[in-house]
Assembly symmetry: C2
Homo-oligomer: 419 residues x 2
């Protein structure tokens, strides 16, 4: 619910600007294009603004896909056990058909981080496997950026109360609204689209520099136990900010985005990495965890809280235990400086250097989007139905890049870019 | 939104009782059965209670189908013109697959009665035709009671403000909540399930009497111009209250329900009938209308307001211009006595004798659910993708029944049952 009272007029202006930002910069909806909006029912007031913004720029049709935390929780707890191996064929057909029509997919991400606490992890694991298998073609298209997609967020009370515990609901909601508006560059005076264009250009600079350096490997160390070497494959590409769909539409997949990212060499990761923020997996919090890699594979993972959800995620398929993404975010960056732990990867990953186990983005390899799964794997690019980001940035993080001619160049010093 | 403040505790009890009533008496959900809940996003708090109630009685899985007035309106006004001849195949597949699995379908009916005011009627007509054609098998199963289904309502502000104009939104919502609770027999002390069982038994008595009399025809007259003769087909059956699905599950298709109904002989309707309440068709109000019938067909229809929506509905297919339902409701009945015009057929038809143009319920003919469309038509039972109820009851309505041996028996005198 948007804050009410005296702020209402300004709030509706900000919400409208946000909706237009998401539709025009995030998805970059084209005249005649179909649009899919996936939204919690509690975010209907914002989903409506997005739908309207999409029609304003000439969307052919907006398809709504609604969901609800509370009814989901009932489902996971109380549905007959046999349903968790099933997939509803009409859901698969809808996503795939619309993806093939080059629809633009918006996901409004807003959930209680502990919504599925107490749910049998086996149910989540079985459903996830069934779902990923049935939707493989769609997910491959998504990872390949075949169509434009965007994830953006607005607050809901259950989430806001977790981020700002101990304050009244209304205050928590106000604080989370403000934090999100800050993160997505909505101010009081319009102009967010321009600010986003500038921001994307800034991130682009960083990725250009990293592409020129063409590192052979990165070595991560800090004082809490991280000591990890990540080799980068030949032909890797650093990306950032916006990207282009197969049909040539420039879009921004995450709002906010602060990262510069590429794909690691899947069998070239060795050492230990200690997570620096909790993570929400399948509606459960995973906390205080580390992983040990040998020749690319996670050979040990331990979490003080929620370990079973982490282990489930790592074994989702045979390649889920290998890295698919290496992303650099300054410790001294806007979202990080807010000091807020969002319990939502969209924000937390943009406040911290992070890695992801599971699939790589094929666009992180020169010509990668034209390759088959077998060809990608042969070139060291991981393929999986999993893609799970986790945060590893810290105030004292050091990353040393080693070039192909053996030079060691500091990439990160004390948590920030040193290039 | 449920009324808040001091009434909250009692309100949540009433809402829970209502949800259980709808699930246990309306749908009569069985252990292991799938359930579909079709709900506006603004009614999520009640849909959640219904989902929970369904799981409480052992539903295998609850499928949510959400919709939203505001986004619908955007769609009808702004989507590309070509979409209105299209049907989304995944929607068709979902309904048909679940119907064939004998799922129970709940529709939470709550809409702004004028939601589609200003929409091009041609769009509504085209979409309705495309939709009815694609979903024909599903609609036939529904009219045949192959699976249990139920329509029930809760207030939303746009609707409440139309029913109670000129009062503040909160008061209008309170009034509509109270009117609906009265209509569905939710009091302050529990016991609604028992009250419903008794009510269904009472309606059953009336239908038994009418079945014994086995009228050849009914003659409607009143002082505002109605003078209509409706022949009843051989083997017609009056139904009321609950009915049985093909798999033997007793369910109540409408909550509230006050009617006793049967099918007319489709080519045996002659004369003029004047509507006594407005009607909402496709999100538009149709007001002050009459129809003239000749040998079953509507040969003239005129409305002072919204005539085009009425005419569209009547010509939806070749049989939409013939009657499919004759229903008797006392003028002196609870909903009618409330004096409220609900602008929602679920309530208004249960406050008044009504007719429907379009499809008949095959269960209104002995053995009718086993017959094909051709066989039903041959026996005088109308088949159509349309089924539109309209109200004809008035304080001075007279209905004389004529038996097969020529006796004239008053069925209604001064708007009420005379049997």
């Amino acid at each position: 619910m948007p804050p009410s009272g005296g702020k209402e007029v300004r709030m509706i202006d900000k919400l409208n600007e946000y909706a237009h930002l998401v539709i025009e910069v995030g998805l970059n909806v084209q005249k005649g294009q179909e649009v899919v909006i996936n939204s919690p029912v509690d975010c209907a007031f914002f989903a409506r603004l997005c739908a309207r913004a999409a029609y304003d720029v000439g969307a052919r049709r907006v398809h709504m896909q609604w969901r609800d935390d509370e009814i989901s929780r009932e489902y996971w707890l109380k549905a007959e056990d046999t349903v968790f191996d099933e997939v509803l064929p009409w859901d698969v057909e809808r996503n795939l058909t619309l993806a093939k029509k080059n629809a633009a997919f918006l996901n409004i991400s807003a959930s209680n981080p502990e919504n599925l606490k107490g749910v049998d992890p086996k149910r989540l694991e079985r459903a996830s496997k069934a779902n990923n298998q049935a939707n493989k073609e769609y997910y491959t298209m998504l990872m390949n950026s075949d169509f434009p997609w965007c994830v953006a967020s607005i607050p809901i009370p259950s989430w806001a109360m977790k981020v700002f515990p101990g304050v009244p609901e209304e205050e928590a909601m106000d604080k989370l609204w403000n934090a999100i508006f800050d993160a997505v560059r909505i101010e009081n005076c319009g102009g967010a689209v321009d600010r986003w264009r500038k921001h994307c250009a800034f991130l682009d600079e960083k990725s250009k520099k990293l592409n020129e350096l063409n590192f052979k490997s990165l070595h991560y160390t800090n004082s809490i136990g991280t000591d990890l070497t990540i080799e980068l494959p030949e032909g890797h590409v650093w990306g950032a900010g916006s990207e282009f769909s197969k049909t040539g539409i420039e879009f921004v997949a995450n709002m906010p985005t602060e990262e510069v990212f590429t794909a690691p060499k899947r069998d070239g990761v060795n050492g230990k990495v200690v997570a620096t923020k909790p993570l929400v997996i399948d509606g459960n919090i995973v906390k205080d965890f580390y992983m040990i890699f040998k020749d690319g594979k996670i050979v040990k993972a331990h979490a003080e809280e929620g370990e079973e959800y982490l282990l489930n995620a790592i074994k989702e398929d045979e390649n889920a235990c290998m890295l698919g993404e290496v992303a650099l975010v300054q410790y001294d960056s806007p979202i990080s400086n807010s000091g807020i732990l969002f319990y939502n990867t969209l924000f937390d990953e943009n406040a911290s250097c992070h890695l992801a186990f599971g699939a790589a983005y094929p666009s992180c390899l020169k010509g990668g989007t034209e390759l088959s799964e077998e060809e990608l794997l042969a070139k060291g690019i991981n393929c999986s139905t999993q893609h799970c980001d986790f945060m590893v940035g810290s105030k004292d993080l050091s990353i040393i890049g080693t070039t192909h001619d053996g030079k060691n160049i500091p990439v990160f010093v004390d948590g920030n870019f040193a290039l």
